[in-house]
Every structure is written in structure tokens, then in C-alpha cells.
Symmetry: C2
Subunit: 146 residues, 2 copies
């Protein structure tokens, strides 16, 4: 079994939240597509295809819960939806968003440590997490312009 799945189950149980079928199914989707982010509607569609009929309200309630528990990260890309993705400490990544084709490219951030350290010292602010989005033109779109 997935180590992360066990970890998340423990987080729920430790805080006296019940391990319902619905919660397990939602987590399984995120764990299958590790780096991907979903909004409530997208999750609902994926679960329907798996013949898991979970009400939208339940999905919303649990996305919010998982976010509060630190299991999921809440993202937004300035459209109408809230997106969520796994909050895995071992795989911190961010997004390059193409302003031409809306493609989203994930990248890892190892080089950010020093930058954060300086900020913490300067503002007396203890950084726990960050969300970084770079907007620009992706390789493909730049190529098509030529």
C-alpha cells in the first residue's frame, strides 16, 4: 500500500475524523495522479467514471477538510474554481502558466531556500509554505510565433 495513503489515514484517525469510503476514494484519486491538481467538478467526474457516486457537497466538504489538515494544497489559476493538489513534503513543485495556451508546466524548487531564509530574517516572518506561479510563454507557443 502507498505510504502516503497510510500517512493520511493516520492524520484523520488521530484527529477523530472517520475513515469513510468517500474520503478514501477521494484520497486515492489524488494519490494516483500525484503531481496533478483537480477542482471539485473534475474530481466528481473522475469518481463517477469509477462508479463511485459521491455527492458534490461531500467532495467540497472533504477538500476543505483535507486542506485544513495539511493533506491538500489549495491552488487557484484566476479562473472561477478552486483547485487542490497533494501537499507532499518530499515533492514540492510549482507552476509555469502559459499566457498564450493556458498550458501549466510543473517544476521543482530546490533553489528557493536561500531566498526564503533572507525573507524570514528581514521580516521576522516564519515561512511554512509558499505558492509560486510564473506567467509567460511556453516553448511550444514561442515556437509557433516564429
Amino acid at each position: 500500500m502507498d505510504k502516503n495513503f497510510e500517512k493520511f489515514k493516520k492524520i484523520l484517525v488521530d484527529k477523530d475524523y472517520r475513515l469513510t469510503e468517500q474520503r478514501k476514494e477521494i484520497l486515492k484519486v489524488f494519490l494516483k495522479y500525484k503531481e496533478k491538481h483537480f477542482n471539485a467538478e473534475e474530481l466528481s467526474d473522475i469518481l463517477k467514471k469509477r462508479d463511485e457516486n459521491i455527492g458534490l457537497a461531500t467532495i467540497y466538504r472533504n477538500l476543505e477538510l483535507f486542506h485544513r489538515l495539511g493533506i491538500l494544497k489549495q491552488l487557484d489559476f484566476n479562473d472561477a474554481f478552486k483547485y487542490y493538489e497533494l501537499n507532499l513534503i518530499e515533492k514540492h513543485h510549482h507552476h509555469l502558466i502559459c499566457i498564450n495556451c493556458d498550458r501549466i508546466i510543473e517544476f521543482n524548487d530546490e533553489a528557493l531556500g536561500d531566498f526564503e531564509k533572507n525573507l524570514e530574517d528581514e521580516y521576522g516572518f516564519k515561512i511554512k509554505d509558499h505558492i509560486i506561479k510564473f506567467y509567460g510563454v511556453c516553448k511550444k507557443c514561442a515556437g509557433e510565433d516564429e
Copy 2:
């Protein structure tokens, strides 16, 4: 008169948008509170206090317009609202968001250049803009915990 105000007027006129009283008043609010961000409702309240009765729909339409024209930046802090702030090239700043008291601290980013350069090379992605949010505990809240 404010140099930026003239610049924004020129952007509108050059693209054949009309210089209405409402547009000028909205821009004036942003130019008065240079570093601050507002959502539509907050702007409406500020304008009401100035006895400028501008319809909410007009505010929404113009925030969107100014965003498309590059005059305003669109932000979000994972609540229900969209926020906007001046997009001044000379004063690029970002946000430290306290996860305890929701206080938002602005900081400038001069040290980000190298980081971006590396990303561009690695992914063939031409970066035009970025939005960076650091979540953590601010000085005040850290102090109160002790």
C-alpha cells in the same frame, strides 16, 4: 499630476477606450493607495464614501478591463474574492500571508532574477510575470505564542 495616472490615461486612449468619470475615479483610488489591493466590494465602499456612486457592474467591468490592459494585477488569497492592485513595473512586490491572523505583509523582490533565469533556460519558458505568496507566521503572532 501623477505620472502613472497620465500613463494609464494614455493606455486607454491609445486603444480607443473612453475616459469616463468612473474609470478615472477607480484609477484614482488605486493610485492613492499605491501598494494596496482591493476587491470590487471594497472599491465600491471607498467610492461611496467619496460620493462617487458607481455601479458594482461598472466596477467589475473596469477591473477586468484594466487587468487585460496590464494596468492592474489580479490577485487572490484563496477566499471568495478577486483582488486587484496596481501593476507598477518600478515597484514589484509580493505577499507574506500570516496563517494565524491573515495579516498580509508586502515585500519587494529584487533577488528573484537569477532564479527566473535558470527556470527559463531549463524549461524553454519565457517568463513575463509572477505571483508569489509565502504562507507562515508573522512576527506579531510568533510573539504572542511565547
